[in-house]
Amino acid sequence: MSTVAALVYRILLLLSPPGFRRECGGAAQALFERSLIGRSGRELMRRVLRGWWGLMQVTAAEWEEQFFGVPNAKRQWRGGVAMSISKMTTLRQAVRSVVRSPALSLGVIGLLGLGVGATVTVLSVVDGVLIRSLPYPESDRILLVDEGAHSWPDFIDWRETVPAFQVMAAGSGYSVILAGDVLQDIPVARVSGGFFELFDLEARVGRLPTDEELESDVPVGVLSHPAWERRWGADPDIVGRTVTLNGQPVEVIGVLSADFVPPQAITGTPDIILPIDQDGNLTRHDRSYTVLGRLAEGATIAQARAGLRSRAEAFATIEPDLYLDSDGALRRTFPPVTLQEATSGDARPPLLILLTGAGLLLLVAIGNAASLLLARGEARQGELAVRRALGGGPSIRHQLLTEATLLSLAGGALGLLAAMAGVRLVQAFEPGDLPRVEALAIDLRVTAMATALALLAGLLVGVIPAVRSGRSSPATTLRRAEAGARGRHAGTAGRWLVVAEATLASLLLVGSLTVVEGLRGLLSSDPGFDPANVWTVSINMGQLSDEESSTTGEQIRATLSDMPGVNAAGAGRTVPFQVVGGSRCCWVGELEYNGVEVDRIWIHPVTPGYFEALGITVAAGRSFRDEDHTTTNGPIILNQTAAREVFGDQDPIGRIARFGEQPLEVIGVIEDVNHWGADQDVEAEFYGTHDPFGGWASNLTFVMRAESAPSTTAIAAAVADVAPQAIVSDVMSMESRMSDSLSRQRFYSMILSIFAGFSLVLAMSGLGGTLLYDARQRRHELGVRMALGAPATRMARGVLVRGLLTVGTGAVLGLLAYWPLRRFTETVAPGVNAVDVSALAGFGGLLFVAVLLASWVPARLVAATDPAKALRDG
């Protein structure tokens, strides 16, 4: 609480004049923080509010001094002690004034509620996803060794030699088949010793495996609490029971405590945690494990980084081929990152964009609310001037500020309600890859943020009318009020507010249109294969030997391609658009030919029929045939990028490339395929009919080209004949895979569009209001001109032109502001074109229509002016 309060104080301080901030800011901040030490409950709250309020008073008073010079002693702002009686009076007056014009007050509250609601919604997502620490003890000391998965020998070495870590653990998530009445595919994690110590875990029931058990082949496992409840009905006698995973018996020795949240980035969400299975993974080539470490007492992340880097250098002397690239530089340095960063990962840039968008919307709403209050301030000039003439200057400003604060607090409360709904919506609609989104909640921190935002907004909204109230001498104002004339300034200030609103709205609008346009472009871009009439189905064949996997996979493929209506069938470890969003799956290595080496080439184990089923064009050479399947060290097919990078201008067909020690013959080149999603660059990739590391995955995704969707049951029935233990997932069309792959970007762009839409509506209602106000003010003048023969249509056109000029200025300013920011749109949807002609055209068109709509009523009003009546009234 104190930290948040201090942060708000710091932000409020930013609003005060620079002179005051320089001279007194630091001291006031320090004193404020000191005055909160050791306080709690109501006492703390009182001090926080008193501090904030005092700072707001001082800010207003200091700005006033800036504008109107040093007041004499009698005009001093009397806060503090003297105010204790008159404060209540001011408050009462403010409440009365707010209640007296309910429509206006509700308007201001609604506007601020919208702005605060949007901002707090995004803030609470940002807080939950990016800022709030992970639910582990001292979670900021848990580091992840970056650069993907690591080998078992590397992990063992770090654990023994890097002193910066108190404890390290390796782990990885898998899926296995759980035997029962029906076979089920369940997620499990295999972890090394140290895992439970690292997260400081306890067993709810039974016990946890020891570190020795975790690194032996003892078949034991612990259940996660949710899985224990869901799959085993929270059976209290579960300990000692045996479950069958991939055909192997495993003894359940315990259940984890309910509050443990598995580290998503490392283990997924496992139902069972099992000892690590380092069988066959003992070489440094096999990088299968995510590695975590907890910093030792007193150690820093820099020490950890240095320690890991020096190990990378040591590894390079042992196995230079593996750790050095062709230029002799370190291929990997194993930089550590905090688990927090690793967890929030990709979500950071787009969330920050959304936060900016929400902030812009809030500013537009503030501008709108300010112009409403300004208009009312004009209407109250007479009343205020009288009070000022009677010496009430300071208390008037005080009251205006109090009114704005009341309104903004009400707006903040509304915003909080809106944010509660907003967070629900985000949870309901987010595409499932926002980390920790299920734990989002509106709590004290978020409430404090909403209050702070509302107060800030109140200050911004209230300060303009307050400053204006002290501007002209009471006598002048009274004379003018008497004559029924209004200040010209109000019109000008109002128009500039609209320009500001239009600027911000344009910025949001052009940004969101660019993203939307870009996404449409991505969806319609050519992925390098023909997705129409392609269906995919993932099949887990269970625990099989490599040879069995290979044979069974081939049998299933043959079965599928014989099904009625199926024209071609094939399978891959992964298929295009299965692993998206910046992740990659499975294998990467180096391919070399004649001294030219590609450091990073992705390997796709596929079966014959894969290219045909997907409609991938073979650009040179040939596709795989059935007989290629059995060959170890068999032939490979490159994508065009790989062919260019490894072979340059030479024809690769028939040449032998080297993959480590293995000679691989290139038999074909295919056109580049967007395997990792439409927004990802195509990298060097090759396809082989065997796994170049030896072994075949037991989990394959099959692709079928068929006239109509094959039914999941039919496929399951057909597969059951050849592989009874296999589990068949739901059939999914390639087109829906592709569309789902951009669901995250679509989600972000949807929110951005909503913000942009709101801000456009607000800016346009601001414009409409100003034009209307203008038209009323100029009634007399219009009457005269019309009486002199000016046609009504020209007057109406004048209103429209005025609107276009005002918004046009804002649009130009908005575009200028967008220019340096344009690159950021790419973080919402990587690969979108930052400057899109159709987006700009759409922006112009939308804005023009909006201005027409907003000017319609004022223009009609002007055109319908009856000169005689206007002259009589005016």
């Binding site: 005051f20 001279e23 007194c24 630091g26 001291a27 006031a28 901040q29 320090a30 004193l31 404020f32 000191r34 005055s35 006492e43 009182r46 001090r47 008193r50 501090g51 309020w53 005092g54 700072l55 008073q57 001082v58 800010t59 008073a61 200091e62 002693a73 001093q76 009397r78 806060g79 503090g80 002690v81 003297a82 204790s84």
Partner: protein, 119 residues
């Protein structure tokens, strides 16, 4: 400027000057001393305090010196002390208030004579 030209003081300024009569204090010291004298009921907030100090300094009523503790946080680095003028001002204000209080007493507003008869 003579001391009288600064009168009347706002209650807040008066309280601040009063606590400085005993010797120099930094911001936190002033805040604490004011709270001790008037109780918890009224809090003087940091921003208003420093704004007042800025003005009092400008009017030559208080003076500022580097505090003893150089390494301390921003609010402890500066000590505030009364100038001679400041001392005169606070004395004059106290006298003024005392006179006003006497008037109030004479009018029987402060309760002391409420139960007595005017015999």
């Amino acid at each position: 400027m003579t001391a009288n030209e600064h009168l009347p003081l706002s209650p807040r300024d008066f309280l601040i000057l009063l606590v400085l009569v005993d010797g120099p204090l930094h911001g936190w010291g002033i805040l604490k001393a004011v709270e001790e004298r008037v109780g918890d009921e009224v809090l003087l907030d940091p921003a208003n305090l420093y704004r007042s100090m800025k003005r009092l300094k400008r009017d030559g009523i208080v003076d500022e010196a580097a505090g003893q503790d150089e390494g301390a946080s921003a609010d402890q680095r500066r000590d505030f002390d009364l100038t001679d003028l400041g001392r005169a001002v606070v004395r004059a204000e106290a006298a003024r208030l005392a006179r006003l209080t006497q008037v109030a007493q004479a009018a029987d507003l402060l309760g002391r004579g409420a139960s007595g008869s005017r015999g």
